[in-house]
């Protein structure tokens, strides 16, 4: 019988190891050749990274706006370490933020319910939880604003007094904050004839009369003008955010689940006044991320606690905290689309109001991508886009699989179907007629290359048995383009080990998308060796060369080429090979001209479904997505990525919505916020479209954005014009066509009963 006590075993566990062995991320397989995730051989950041860690709990604001006037801590045990904004001030920690420097490590002026205002550190998680519950906070409340249209109104109260652009690498384009408003970034597209006109800095009204494009729309025979809404949604990585931090001889070491290790290193160096080399970020495999684990989340407060206490510290968020940590941007998107009677698109106008919550995070980038993705893969002579990233007192919006494209594709692809109806042209034919083809020019001025929109459209349409001008009851399609991070850089190194194996050193984080397997397969291909000869190093900024980050479905595309260079270098020059690639471009924030994306994610979706006219319940018969992949590196992984994107799109379409009451999230748990279960996805199928000899394309998000509008268009084929996601039964019923249109054929009901 094992007689050791749990505490003794824990102490033993805590005392083992020195030096680098103190950091214990990564994976070992209990069974040779088997994915360690199957045998529980993975050590996630939630499992702890450093022996002897104390546990951190964050104390969060219960008011959406105001000022903390005091903390009552009399009930805390002596051993508890209590951290407040005073500690942040005492340490001289500056404001930070990936694109706008608007955050502090702990704030005395909370800006959303859940904002971090203090923290407790205790030797056990249980003690930390108790301590956190014993701290009483007093506040002076201030008025708050939650809706993006209310926050952009001329008289709106200001969430932040200033909008200083961040010096971080992640502020990779020029910001256009609008002083004296809640707009921290404004992005515009103006095609050639529209540039240089006098216009208001901020368009505050949804019923703006559109002076920018009046001349162009005058040439249209039919104009669709409609407003669409997308609510906040949750990423729900199954693994919560988790960070482990310690200070070793003035150097900060952090084991954390992050998609952005090099941004993390730079941002923590900035916060703690260190050289980048004095910060080490180690990234164990993550239990999902979907954009939620980008930029600073729990890392700065954990590092501060480690510095103040002189101990290693672990911080793992509870699920309700994960929900509030970062969300998908709620958005209001107005689309104005004009066409000639023959279906030729003439002009498109987009107003995108992007609710970034209390902090900008990467909202400016999201607003930008939402703006151009809403134009869609179509030819237009005239395009004007105004996209605003707007502060409110909701939890911050951030990167979310689809990165803004979902919100605007939902709006723009629904608008295309409305136009088709008005013109009396088949919805697939109307799209085909206007699609961007090889060599066409996008609204940004860039020339399209490797374009496969037509094949994707045909594939999706045929998956639901679409027949030209046939009966389309219950059927819908959608198509989209989505950009990849441009500009960016990727470096890779391959080292020949003494035992004859090769170690791949790359900054691509593995969050379940299969980074490690991708690197293994490609390295073996490039080095012409067996996959067993490849070892992939855990991303560790002390050991791997620079990579921009693991986002925007860029890693397989970018890192594959860096790795090919590294392999060639190694084969030519001996034991170490270096590879480097960059993609160049970017957009002028005032005209939207330039290179939005060096490489386009291209995808389509189709749905076939029934709507119960009594209950409004949508029942999917087929949900299909087709994504262009170029060359596939890992066929099984590609299938999983595509299916995973689809179920995220499905949830967004039908049931996922974060709800708030006076700024407080009311459903931050998996009882009240439902994600798709195995029973919800029976109808999904897909295609990963490959072309022999093509380059490797990213695939991680392509199938998210087209799914909601494909479903919405299918629902609209029955006359239910739903403009707000998700399409809950209540919203479907509220959008029911007028009684005459909705009346079923005579005998329909009896027929059902008799059947």
């Amino acid at each position: 019988m094992n007689t050791s006590t749990a505490r003794a075993r824990r102490d033993q566990d805590n005392n083992e190891g020195t030096g680098n062995a103190r950091l214990r991320p990564g994976e070992t397989s209990a069974v040779q050749g088997v994915n360690p995730r199957i045998t529980a051989g993975i050590r996630y950041a939630t499992d702890g990274g450093i022996p002897g860690e104390w546990h951190l709990r964050i104390i969060r604001s219960s008011v959406p706006a105001g000022r903390v006037t005091g903390f009552q801590t009399a009930l805390l045990d002596d051993e508890i370490i209590f951290l407040t904004p005073d500690d942040v001030d005492a340490a001289g920690l500056p404001a930070f933020g990936c694109q706008i420097a608007d955050q502090t490590v702990l704030t005395r002026e909370p800006k959303f319910v859940g904002d971090a205002i203090a923290a407790v550190l205790a030797p056990t998680l249980a003690a930390a939880r108790i301590a956190a519950s014993l701290v009483e906070v007093s506040y002076e409340r201030a008025p708050a604003v939650f809706d993006e249209m209310a926050a952009i109104a001329p008289d709106a109260l200001l969430v932040h007094r200033s909008h200083a652009t961040s010096e971080s690498d992640s502020a990779y384009f020029d910001m256009r904050p609008q002083d004296g408003t809640n707009v921290c970034h404004r992005f515009r597209i103006r095609t050639a004839a529209l540039q240089g006109r006098q216009e208001p800095n901020v368009i505050t009204e949804l019923d703006d009369s559109d002076t920018a494009l009046a001349d162009a729309f005058a040439q249209a025979d039919v104009i669709i003008d409609e407003v669409f809404h997308t609510p906040a949604a949750a990423h729900v990585p199954m693994e919560p955010h988790a960070t482990n931090a310690q200070w070793v001889e003035g150097r900060l070491e952090v084991v954390t689940g992050t998609q952005t290790p090099f941004n993390m290193r730079q941002d923590l160096a900035h916060i703690f006044g260190l050289a980048a080399d004095d910060v080490r970020i180690v990234v164990p495999p993550m239990g999902g991320a979907f954009g939620a684990k980008t930029f600073i989340r729990t890392e700065a407060i954990t590092a501060l606690a480690a510095r103040v206490s002189g101990r290693p510290v672990r911080c793992v968020l509870d699920r309700d905290e994960v929900f509030n940590e970062v969300t998908r941007h709620p958005s209001t998107v107005r689309i104005r689309l004009g066409a000639k009677a023959d279906g030729t698109f003439v002009a498109k106008r987009i107003w995108a109001y992007v609710n970034t919550g209390a902090y900008a995070d990467c909202g400016p980038g999201v607003a930008q991508k939402m703006g151009y993705a809403g134009v869609g893969p179509y030819r237009f002579e005239h395009v004007a886009v105004d996209s605003y990233c707007i502060y409110t007192n909701l939890p911050p919006g951030g990167a979310f699989r689809g990165y803004g494209a979902m919100q605007s594709v939902w709006a723009s692809e629904r608008a295309v179907d409305l136009l088709a109806d008005r013109l009396g042209i088949d919805a697939v034919e109307l799209r085909r007629q206007n699609l961007l083809r090889e060599g066409d020019t996008f609204c940004t001025g860039e020339v399209m290359h490797d374009s496969h929109f037509e094949e994707l459209l045909d594939d999706a349409a045929s998956a639901v048995g679409w027949e030209k001008d046939g009966d389309r009851a219950g059927k819908g399609v959608a198509i989209m383009l989505k950009g990849m991070q441009t500009p960016s850089k990727a470096e890779a190194r391959i080292q020949l080990l003494p035992d004859g194996r090769y170690e791949v050193q790359a900054g691509t984080a593995d969050m379940g998308q299969g980074a490690s397997e991708m690197l293994t397969r490609l390295a073996a291909e490039y080095l012409k060796c067996d996959v067993d000869q490849i070892v992939v190093c855990t991303p560790d900024t002390d050991r791997v060369p620079y990579d921009t980050r693991t986002t925007s479905s860029r890693s397989t595309h970018m890192m594959s080429r860096a790795l090919a260079d590294a392999a060639q270098d190694l084969l030519q020059h001996g034991t170490v090979g270096h590879g480097y690639v960059s993609n160049d471009g970017g957009l002028d924030p005032d005209t939207g001209q330039g290179v939005a994306s060096s490489h386009w994610h291209q995808g389509s979706a189709a749905a076939s479904l029934d709507v119960d006219e009594e209950t409004g319940v949508i029942t999917l018969r087929t949900l299909y997505a087709s994504s262009y992949a170029g060359k596939v590196v890992n066929p099984h992984g590609a299938d999983l990525q595509n299916e995973g994107s689809m179920i995220l799109g499905l949830g967004s379409a039908l049931f996922e919505e974060l709800q708030f009451s006076d700024g407080q999230m009311t459903n931050p748990n998996l009882s009240d916020y439902n994600i798709a279960s195995a029973l919800d996805v029976v109808s999904i199928s897909h295609k990963v479209m490959q072309i022999p000899g093509a380059e490797v394309h990213g695939l991680g998000e392509t199938a998210v954005p087209p799914v909601p509008p494909a479903i919405g268009n299918a629902v609209a084929s029955f006359g239910y014009h739903v403009t707000r996601l998700p399409m809950t039964p209540e919203r479907v019923l509220a959008a029911a066509p007028s009684h005459e249109q909705a009346s079923p054929p005579v005998g329909h009901i009896q027929g059902e009963e008799g059947a």
Partner: protein
């Protein structure tokens, strides 16, 4: 503190625990068995599923003291002598996972499902796994894994 005697993955333990300690906390923090993970705190996601006397339970929903005198099997105790359990092997062969965080719970639940119903239909598999959430995959390969494991287990039973 309350003393509990519990067998976990074939090893007997005797420990003092606070009565409010959840089984998953005892496994992870007390025994260092981090293969069983926590996903949601509200017994919705199933990531922490283990077997209590051979029946699946969500270990965030069971107190450690309720396991006193009982046998717990976690994902870490499923493979024997370096041989994967047939359900693990099927998850491996059908690529039924991505990030792997839901996988321990999914596998433990699938084992229980197949114990109750050796030849489940696709619908029965989906219903049986409804309390285990996966955010990465589209579940299709997970269903295939359970179907394959059902076949492998039944041919094993015939063979033995």
């Amino acid at each position: 503190m309350t003393r509990i005697n519990v067998t976990v993955d074939g090893v007997r333990y005797s420990d003092e625990v606070e009565p409010r300690t959840l089984l998953v906390q005892y496994l992870r923090e007390g025994l260092g068995k981090t293969g069983t993970v926590v996903g949601c705190d509200t017994s919705n996601c199933g990531a922490c599923t283990v077997h209590l006397d051979g029946t699946s339970v969500k270990s965030c929903n069971v107190l450690a003291v309720q396991a006193d005198g009982h046998e717990v099997t976690t994902i870490e105790g499923l493979a024997t002598d370096g041989e994967l359990h047939p359900v693990q092997r099927a998850f491996h062969e059908t690529h039924a996972l991505q990030c792997g965080y839901c996988t321990p719970g999914m596998i433990m639940q699938a084992c229980d499902l197949l114990k109750e119903n050796a030849d489940p239909s696709e619908q029965e598999i989906r219903e049986g796994l409804e309390g285990n959430l996966c955010r990465c995959t589209g579940y299709h390969n997970i269903v295939k894994a359970v179907q394959q494991a059902a076949k492998d287990l039944s041919s094993q039973a015939v063979g033995s």
